[in-house]
Symmetry: C2
């Protein structure tokens, strides 16, 4: 029977009518991810009640799957003793995620109350959130190379009920990772008394604890891995990162790129408080506002020219929009390419050249169209040619800035996604406007 989505039932109506017996019955058999979905979408006054209806063994799995808002509600309602029992039953990486969401004092209290695994969780909490160490779990199979195939199979199948292990990582007497075997190598080996060292794959991909999560995701994607071992600088096996965490990273990085582009934070999507969303977006808007005022100052410098030929200002929206569009096209493409590894910084001049060529073609086409339409509209060929020429200049310069800035940021190890943010966009607006007025007033002065 294919799994049925709880949200396709009338459970949300039952919750609204507080028919808890029927709700309980529906929750009993459901997948933790489905239950979490229901809690996420329920009115906040029933979220705690719903969580309390769950069995003790479902609570850890559901809590992990909740989105930040519902998670905060539930964490608030639980006592430290209840919470410590729940996180005790989680994988160490999930436990660390939940505990890191608590205020510092409370997280210490919960860690104190934990019966087992608190050392592992403390260990994980030391790592930066967006590094391999920050997303790995310490639940990992590490077997000495002298173990037999038989013993390894046994270890793999008995280690843990929740997360299944595909690979047994093989370590030497110092704990340094020297290779791995997977469950199929073990099953296929006829002589089950051979050592795993003898049948190991000795070339392997591994992440180091301080590796950026984006880099880890690239490795996993490149080598089509289901999980990746994590080692310290000395090559000692510290943990592993599983496929589901990699999916989260890829989605998070895409979120981050888009959030940077429009000037907000990744949490914007799920944040219900308008004040908090406003606080995420406002700094960027204020940068844009000041940038716009600088543009206004630039224009005021050309007040005399504008008074003489008022039609000049009609083309300000065209020039601004076009400069913004081409700049954003170039920088967004470079940012995405850098994120996925399809573009690398060693080819800067190559990329720049391609973008400039594109800008030349697009600039000539758009410039010609603008010249023609301006001529037909205002019956002034001089004005048409000058406005069209200015547009070509603006397109070239905006493309140059839009391509170069993310590449430069990457070179200096700054997140290139900042290049698509309002700061660079606004600078581009000001530069474009300046070019337009200088170009048009100088040329029109020469003509007249």
């Amino acid at each position: 029977m294919a799994r049925q989505n709880l949200l396709d039932t009338d459970i949300l109506d039952l919750i609204r009518n507080e028919e808890w017996d029927e709700v309980s019955a529906l929750l009993l058999d459901a997948h933790p991810a489905d239950i979490a979905d229901v809690i996420d979408r329920s009115p906040s006054n029933s979220q705690i009640k719903l969580f309390s209806l769950l069995g003790e063994d479902a609570k850890p799995d559901v809590l992990v799957e909740l989105e930040s808002v519902a998670e905060a509600e539930v964490l608030e309602a639980l006592t430290n003793a209840e919470l410590s029992e729940i996180v005790d039953d989680m994988d160490p990486d999930d436990a660390a995620d939940v505990i890191s969401d608590l205020p510092e004092e409370r997280s210490e209290q919960v860690l104190e109350l934990m019966e087992e695994g608190s050392d592992e969780v403390r260990e994980l909490l030391k790592y930066e959130e967006d590094t391999a160490g920050g997303i790995m779990t310490t639940d990992v199979v590490a077997l000495p190379e002298t173990r037999t195939v038989e013993e390894a199979l046994d270890a793999l199948s008995h280690f843990d009920q929740e997360e299944r292990f595909l690979n047994a990582n093989i370590v030497d007497q110092n704990g340094t990772m020297i290779g791995f075997v997977d469950v199929w190598d073990l099953l296929r080996e006829k002589d089950k008394t051979r050592t795993i060292g003898a049948i190991a794959h000795r070339k392997f991909a591994a992440a180091t604890v301080d590796m950026d999560q984006e880099e880890v995701a690239k490795q996993v994607k490149k080598y089509d891995l289901v999980e990746i071992p994590v080692v310290d600088e000395g090559g000692r096996l510290e943990g592993r990162i599983t496929h589901d965490d990699i999916l989260d990273v890829i989605e998070e990085e895409a979120h981050e790129d888009i959030s940077h582009m429009v000037g907000t934070s990744e949490e914007d999507i799920t944040e219900p408080s308008a004040f908090r969303v406003s606080r995420m977006r406002l700094p960027w808007l204020i940068i844009g506002l000041f940038g716009g005022l600088v543009s206004a100052l630039v224009m005021s410098h050309f007040e005399m020219a504008i008074e003489r030929i008022i039609t000049l200002v009609f083309f300000v929206p065209v020039v601004m929009a076009m400069g913004g569009n081409v700049g954003m096209q170039s920088s967004a493409i470079v940012v995405r390419g850098l994120a996925t590894g399809e573009i690398d910084v060693t080819h800067t001049s190559h990329r720049l050249l391609r973008e400039i060529r594109v800008a030349l073609i697009n600039g000539l086409v758009c410039g010609a169209i603008l010249t023609l339409l301006t001529f037909f509209w205002l019956r002034n060929i001089h004005l048409g040619v000058v406005v069209g020429g200015a547009l070509i200049c603006v397109i070239l310069v905006s493309t140059f800035v839009g391509t170069l800035v993310p590449l430069l940021l990457k070179r200096f190890d700054i997140d290139p996604a900042l290049a698509t943010g309002p700061f660079v966009t606004t600078s581009n607006d000001i530069i474009g406007l300046g070019i337009y007025f200088i170009f048009t007033t100088v040329l029109l002065n020469m003509i007249s």
Copy 2:
């Protein structure tokens, strides 16, 4: 030994110097994904040579990993006979991907020449590229429920050397999927003569062949799956989608969202031809250009007002930039949330209300700043208040449009990402400009 990246060696220099013996030696031991990386980054005149240096068993794996440009070079250089041998050694889904990149006539010729598997490939080619059918492989373990655990273990480990199977899917006599067992269930079962029907998981997630790939990725992510079975409308097992293809889908969807946002195509990143890139971007730019000209027409209607109070036009860049920024913030967040499932269309009014609240706060703050700064700059309190008020209106309207349009598109089953494209952005520009001039001229007329 941790895997070494080929690109960290001096292989690109060796290729440039055409020292093929040394290049061959480096390629011999490398991972197909690393070899593909090298070919992708080599000058196009050595790509074919590099591919020819590979052993016959490496060619299929490397060809699959090549990016579109290098792939096209290599496909062009291979004879139909060579190519058919290579695709014969691929997984059916990879073979279908390569063959679908060929011109129709040639793909038919290659299919004719294939020794085995051409039926499976033809079957896969029938499905739309971005559906579950289009990304699945037909290489799937389907066992009758009457098989024993022993037999299932044997089937799992012997099926295929390349892609390892985690799950044995269980079907009834009609081929309808009724559940699955994974390799650990089989290993842990003490009585290996039990039937797999007796120990099967009977609740499972499955994709249907025509399900959109984005929807499939959501299922995989939600249930933390490593692979997902694909069934037809009647529930017959047709194939499976593996974790690496899911990673590709998530990245592709993010690429697509960002490409739509800036008005280009996903292929832009890797396309080397400036003409082809220009063709991807130009249609959107021309829409933007015409939109800009409509803005110019709008402004020309207010020529008299502008002549009277020339300072009014200084604020055109501010108003346009701010309207554009807030509209893009709202629509980008809604588009991402819809893509990942964090926002659903049933909560339209909820989302709209949150965005309007955010717009009110941000509008009031930005409007107040603009009023103050305008007053200090131009010493004209009337103008300051009117311009600030106009900005608040523009921010409210742009937010409303930016939020509503993607939600409406989704309701009508149109890709909501179009809402972030230049078409809507340009409309927002025109509306914003219109509101600004109507608001300011009407109010300033009333005052004076």
